[in-house]
């Protein structure tokens, strides 16, 4: 198993599994609300032209997260997408 890393460092096309959230308070609730609970697979779909907000597929829906927010999400495993 790899070292834990942050969602913000996930590259396009990669899928990671959520290990936990570093955020507290309302941001934490918001991230939980969009489905980032432990064990959830998150796939990075694409980055915006300037690289900052990136689009992630979480539980079947696409969300754009800013880096400051995606840095609060800790992942612990990476799964290379077999198809595509």
């Amino acid at each position: 198993m790899k070292e834990p890393f942050l969602l913000s460092s996930l590259r396009e096309g990669e899928t990671g599994l959520v290990a936990g959230l570093a955020a507290a308070g309302s941001l934490r609730r918001r991230l939980l609300d969009i489905g980032l609970t432990e064990g959830t697979p998150v796939r990075c779909l694409l980055h915006s032209p300037f690289g900052d907000p990136a689009a992630y597929e979480i539980r079947g829906a696409v969300f754009a997260l800013r880096q400051e927010d995606s840095r609060q999400v800790v992942l612990n495993a990476i799964a290379q997408e077999a198809a595509l």
Partner: protein
């Protein structure tokens, strides 16, 4: 007091809740393709089989646990507003997410109906929903609809009628986590004694540290503040003994909801995944080199169509109004009105009015439908996504690009649209700076003036451009 049954309409943002509401009530509340359109409860009436229903459109929320104003409004109405039934509108294209809220509503509303909307879009995306499986797993009625073309609406109303006339099933609470059981055991009897309707659910929320709910409970259920506070402190101690804190208990609740939703959707929903075409399109629309040129071209195209296309009806309107004005002044002179009156009425009031209408109405009538088209195609969120970084540098939010574009049509609409921005500071920035976007009544005078005077070839028309706002 109420003539009809009260039906609450809950759902995530952007699941077509407002479209369904409009379908049911015929009341045209503007709907938008982004979160947070409904901040206050919109109400509308609808009649089915001789029974009148009062529909309350709750703000779109992902959950009833978090502490945003929208979520509190929705939760308070469901808990303390005593609706006769609640329809939870779900998105067929991502059922799992919608089910999270559905499970929470099911916990507190004794008569819940699941309405899976956007079935047409789901079919396009290759998502299949087994209605019967969903209904059996959830234990509450499920109706599938496509609110946009009205399919399934009749069935939904039939179900609402059936649910309202049958004896209520009662809320279906989720199991209490093992470790929290003792703590809940401290609060629950106290709440029950005071006649609270959802003692177990409320106990858990209080243990999670929901202060806004605590205050509402004190008001609504007439529970003495000191009694409640003291019980809560005891219960918190009990909770800590079991090795939990408010924070970890919240995490558990959220995780168990997510898990529940995941399981149900796995049973009831077959998904083929996102289509390749839409993925490729996204790459172009938000790509590193293509995103911004495509956006500029599209927006330039819209402005060109708006300005060029609006000139023709503008001219017709202006000619029509001028003809009417001349007829009026001829009429006034014929009945012997003094010249100053004719000047005030026709050259003053009438002319200004006709200028404003003929300059402002046609561009709006062209611009807003075009903008709506982009919205329906889902392009606008992608613009926000592309531009967010630039706006971030200025301490603003990418969604401001949309409200600014709306501002080109009308600043009032642009400012109202700012509610789509979540962060209060960014929302304020967007609202204040919106007035710097020249709306179509204030397009740069050289540009617009030339268009108009070129079209009409009349000497006075150059002044038309100064009619604002």
């Amino acid at each position: 007091m109420t003539a009809g049954r009260v039906i609450a309409l809950a759902g995530n943002p952007n699941v077509g809740k407002s479209t369904l509401f409009n379908r049911l009530t015929g009341l045209h509340q503007h709907t938008g393709n982004w979160p947070g359109k409904t901040v206050e409860n919109a109400r509308g009436r609808c009649t089915f089989a001789g029974q009148e229903y009062l529909l309350v459109d709750l703000p779109g929320t992902y959950s009833l646990l978090a502490h945003s104003a929208e979520e509190e409004t929705a939760r308070d109405f469901l808990c303390f507003g005593h609706p006769d039934a609640c329809i939870v509108v779900c998105d067929a294209t991502c059922l799992e997410r919608s089910l999270n809220l559905a499970l929470q509503v099911r916990e507190i509303s004794p008569r819940t109906i699941i309405c899976v909307n956007l079935m047409d879009e789901a079919a396009k995306k290759g998502v299949h929903i087994h209605r019967q499986v969903l209904e059996n797993t959830l234990g509450i009625p499920v109706v599938t609809v496509s609110a946009r073309d009205g399919r399934g609406i009749e069935k939904l109303l039939e179900t609402v009628e059936k649910v309202c006339t049958e004896p209520e099933k009662g809320p279906l609470p989720l199991p209490v986590p093992e470790e929290a059981r003792r703590a809940v055991g401290v609060i629950e009897p106290v709440l029950r004694q005071q006649g609270a309707s959802l003692p177990q659910w409320a106990s858990l929320r209080l243990l999670e540290g929901d202060t806004s709910l605590k205050n509402t409970i004190k008001e609504q259920w007439k529970i003495g503040g000191t009694l409640l506070d003291r019980t809560l402190i005891l219960a918190q101690k009990e909770l800590e003994k079991s090795g939990l804190t408010s924070e970890t208990l919240t995490d558990r609740t959220v995780a168990s909801l997510a898990k529940g939703a995941e399981e149900i959707s796995r049973k009831a929903c077959k998904n083929k995944g996102r289509s390749r075409v839409s993925q490729q399109l996204d790459r172009i629309l938000t790509g590193k080199w293509t995103g911004i040129p495509v956006m500029l071209l599209l927006l330039a195209g819209i402005f060109w169509i708006t300005i060029a296309g609006a000139n023709i009806p503008s001219q017709w309107l202006w000619e029509g109004f001028s003809w009417l004005g001349e007829a009026m002044s001829a009429g006034l002179i014929a009945i012997g009105a003094p010249p100053w009156l004719e000047q005030v009425l026709v050259m003053g009031i009438w002319r200004v009015l006709s200028w404003v209408v003929s300059v402002m109405l046609p561009p709006m009538a062209v611009f807003f439908p075009l903008f709506t088209l982009l919205e329906d195609l889902g392009y606008l969120p992608r613009v926000a996504f592309t531009l967010d970084h630039c706006f971030q540098k200025a301490g603003a939010c990418g969604k401001q690009a949309l409200t600014m574009c709306m501002g080109f049509g009308c600043n009032a609409v642009g400012v109202t649209g700012c509610r789509i921005i979540d962060s209060p500071r960014e929302r304020l920035v967007a609202a204040i700076t919106n007035s710097f976007v020249p709306c179509n009544g204030r397009f740069p005078p050289p540009l617009k003036g030339r268009f108009l005077s070129h079209q009409k070839g009349k000497k006075k028309d150059r002044y038309i451009k100064y009619s604002g706002p």
